[in-house]
C-alpha cells in the first residue's frame, strides 16, 4: 500500500475513535433527554428506540405541578446563591489578610487554612450532623448553607492570585490616603476578576451537585435540594418512576451545562486547580 493510502486509513481510524469517545461522553445525556420526553411505558419498552416515541411533554408538566420539584429547584438556587455570596465575602477578606497584611499569628493562620483544605467533608459529617440536631438546624437554610459558607481551597486559590498583583500598587494607593479596605476594593478585586469568576463557578458546581450534606440535614421533603429530592423518587415496591426522574435530571443539568458552555475557561481552570473534591 502506498503512503497516502496508509495515511487515509489512519485518519479514518482516528475519526472513528473521536466519534466513539464523543458517543461515550454524550450518549447518557441523549438517553436522559429522550426518556424525559416519552411515557413510562415507552421508557421500559423492550424495543429500543433513539427518539421519544410517542413524543410528549406530559412528564415535565406532571413533575412540575404534582411534585415538589419547583421547590427543590428553588432550594438549590437559594443555597447556591447565598453560599456563593458568603464565600465571596469570607474567602476574599481572609485571602487578602493572608496575602497582603502583616500581623502576629499570620503563619498560624496560613497553616490553619492549608490544613483545613485536606479535611474531607466525609470525615466531619457525623459530628456536624450531631451539631445540627443540637442546634435544631435540621430542615433549615442555615443548616444547608453555613457549613459550606467557607472554602479553604478558594481562600488558598485567591491568595495565590492576589500574589500576582504588584504590591507597589497598594503602596501608591495608601500614600494617596486609601484605607486597607479600599485597597482591596479598588485595586485587588478589579485585578482578580478571572480568579473570582473561577471561584464562583467552582463553588456553584460543588453546591449544586452536593448530595451527602443536604441529604443528612434535610428530613422534610419541602426542604430538599434537587439532587437529594431526585434520589428520593420511588414507587411502592421499589421500582423507580423514570418518567419523573428523567425530566428532573434534565432540569437540574440545564443550569450547570449552560453555565459551562458560557464560562468554559473558568470551569476548566477551577477544576484543574481544585480537582480534589471537598
Amino acid at each position: 500500500m502506498n503512503n497516502a493510502g496508509k495515511k487515509n486509513i489512519l485518519t479514518l481510524a482516528l475519526l472513528l475513535l473521536y466519534v466513539l469517545i464523543a458517543l461515550f461522553a454524550l450518549m447518557p445525556f441523549g438517553i436522559m433527554l429522550k426518556s424525559s420526553l416519552e411515557p413510562y411505558s415507552s421508557i421500559v419498552s423492550l424495543d429500543f428506540h433513539f427518539l421519544p416515541n410517542p413524543f410528549t411533554i406530559e412528564n415535565y408538566i406532571e413533575v412540575m405541578t404534582q411534585y415538589e420539584l419547583p421547590r427543590w429547584f428553588l432550594n438549590s438556587v437559594v443555597v447556591a446563591v447565598v453560599a456563593i455570596l458568603l464565600n465571596l465575602v469570607v474567602d476574599t477578606l481572609s485571602a487578602y489578610a493572608l496575602q497582603r497584611l502583616e500581623y502576629p499569628g499570620k503563619k498560624l493562620m496560613n497553616v490553619l487554612v492549608i490544613s483545613a483544605q485536606i479535611i474531607p467533608v466525609q470525615v466531619t459529617v457525623v459530628p456536624l450532623y450531631l451539631m445540627m440536631v443540637k442546634l435544631d438546624w435540621i430542615d433549615t437554610y442555615k443548616g444547608l448553607i453555613l457549613p459550606v459558607a467557607i472554602s479553604p481551597f478558594i481562600i488558598f486559590f485567591l491568595r495565590q492570585s492576589f500574589m500576582q498583583i504588584p504590591k507597589a500598587l497598594d503602596e501608591a494607593a495608601i500614600i494617596d490616603g486609601c484605607s486597607r479596605i479600599s485597597v482591596l476594593w479598588h485595586i485587588i478585586l478589579p485585578n482578580s476578576i478571572p480568579a473570582l469568576g473561577t471561584s464562583v463557578v467552582l463553588k456553584f458546581m460543588w453546591v449544586w451537585g452536593d448530595y451527602m450534606w443536604p441529604s443528612l440535614v434535610t428530613k422534610n421533603n419541602a426542604m430538599r435540594t434537587l439532587p437529594v429530592g431526585i434520589a428520593t423518587f420511588q414507587r411502592a415496591g421499589g421500582t423507580i418512576p423514570w418518567e419523573l426522574v428523567m425530566p428532573s435530571a434534565v432540569l437540574s443539568s440545564i443550569p450547570i451545562v449552560l453555565l459551562f458552555l458560557f464560562l468554559q475557561k473558568y470551569f476548566i481552570t477551577g477544576l484543574t486547580e481544585g480537582a480534589i473534591k471537598g
Binding site: I31, A97, L101, P120, P227, V245, L271, T272, I276
Partner: protein, 291 residues
C-alpha cells in the same frame, strides 16, 4: 508599635474573623470531635459510654461489614485509578494540540464532569437496567447478552466504577493536556530529526516529561477514590449484599445507629487521605512537581 502597624493588625484580625469562626465551627471542631467520638459507644439516643480504642479493634477484627468496606474501597480505588488514567491519557494525547476542533472535543469530554454526580448516577441506573436499559439493549443488538449490572453482586462494583470513569475521565484528561502542552516542542523536533518514530518519542520524551503531572494526577485520583460515595449510594445503596459498600457508605449508614463506629471509620478515612496528601506534598516539594 507604630500606629500604622497597630491599625494594620487590627484590620487583619477583623478581616480574618468570619473565616476563622466558620473554619473552627464547621471544620476543625467537627474534625476533633470525630476523633473524640470514635472513643465512645453511642447511638444518639442512649448514654455515651467511653470505650477507648475498642471501636477500632472491633472494626478491624470482628466487623465483617467494615472489613468488606475497606477491601471494596481498595478494589474500587485500584480499578478506578488505572482505568481512568488510561482513558484520560489516551484522550489527552488525542486532543493535546491547540486547535478549534480539539477545543470542542475537550469541551465534550468535560460535560460529564460538571453535572451533578447523583443525578447522573440515577440516569445510569436506568441505563444499567437488565431488561430495558440502553446498555443491555445495545449489547443484545450486537448479539451479546449483558450481565444484570447493578443487580449482580459480581458485576455491581465494576458498574459503579465504569460510571465514575465516565463522570471524571474528562477532568483528568484536561489536567494531563496541561502537562503535555508544557513539554518543549524542540524535544520532539530533535527526536524526529534523529529518526525516532512515534512510539520511541512517546517512550523517551512524553513519558518521562509527564511523570510529575502523572504523579500529581494519581494522588488526586487516590484521594477522590477513597471518598467514593454519592453515585454508589444512589445506584446500589452499597448492595447487592454488601458488594459495593465503601468506607464512606459505611460511615453514612452508621451515623444514625452507631456514632462511635461511624466516627472511627471517619478517622480511618482521614488517615488514608492524610498519608496520600503528605506523600504528594513531600515529593512535590522535592521539586518533582513544579505545579
Amino acid at each position: 508599635m507604630s500606629k500604622r502597624k497597630r491599625q494594620e493588625m487590627l484590620s487583619a484580625y477583623a478581616l480574618l474573623f468570619p473565616a476563622i469562626l466558620l473554619l473552627l465551627v464547621f471544620m476543625l471542631i467537627p474534625m476533633i470531635n470525630s476523633a473524640w467520638y470514635s472513643l465512645f459507644k453511642w447511638n444518639l439516643v442512649g448514654e455515651k459510654k467511653f470505650v477507648g480504642l475498642s471501636n477500632f479493634s472491633f472494626m478491624f477484627v470482628k466487623d465483617a461489614s467494615f472489613k468488606k468496606a475497606l477491601l471494596n474501597t481498595c478494589v474500587y480505588t485500584i480499578i478506578n485509578m488505572v482505568s481512568t488514567l488510561i482513558l484520560a491519557l489516551g484522550c489527552a494525547l488525542l486532543f493535546q494540540k491547540q486547535s478549534r476542533v480539539n477545543s470542542i472535543w475537550r469541551a465534550i469530554i468535560f460535560v460529564p464532569v460538571v453535572v451533578p454526580m447523583t443525578v447522573m448516577g440515577m440516569v445510569w441506573k436506568m441505563l444499567y437496567e437488565p431488561q430495558y436499559g440502553a446498555i443491555n439493549q445495545i449489547l443484545s443488538a450486537i448479539g451479546i447478552s449483558g450481565p444484570k449490572w447493578l443487580f449482580d453482586s459480581k458485576v455491581a462494583m465494576l458498574a459503579v466504577i465504569l460510571f465514575n470513569v465516565w463522570k471524571e475521565f474528562g477532568l483528568y484528561s484536561i489536567i494531563l493536556v496541561g502537562g503535555l502542552q508544557k513539554i518543549p516542542a524542540e524535544l520532539y523536533e530533535a527526536a524526529s530529526v534523529e529518526g525516532a518514530n512515534w512510539w520511541q518519542s512517546f517512550r523517551r520524551i512524553t513519558m518521562p516529561m509527564l511523570r510529575p503531572i502523572m504523579f500529581f494526577t494519581t494522588t488526586i485520583l487516590l484521594i477522590n477514590s477513597f471518598k467514593a460515595f454519592d453515585h454508589i449510594w444512589v445506584m446500589t445503596n452499597g448492595g447487592p449484599g454488601n458488594s459495593t459498600t465503601t468506607l464512606v457508605t459505611y460511615i453514612y449508614t452508621k451515623v444514625f445507629d452507631s456514632v462511635g463506629l461511624a466516627s472511627a471509620a471517619s478517622v480511618v478515612l482521614f488517615v488514608m487521605v492524610f498519608l496520600v496528601t503528605m506523600v504528594k506534598n513531600y515529593i512535590g516539594r522535592d521539586g518533582a512537581i513544579d505545579e
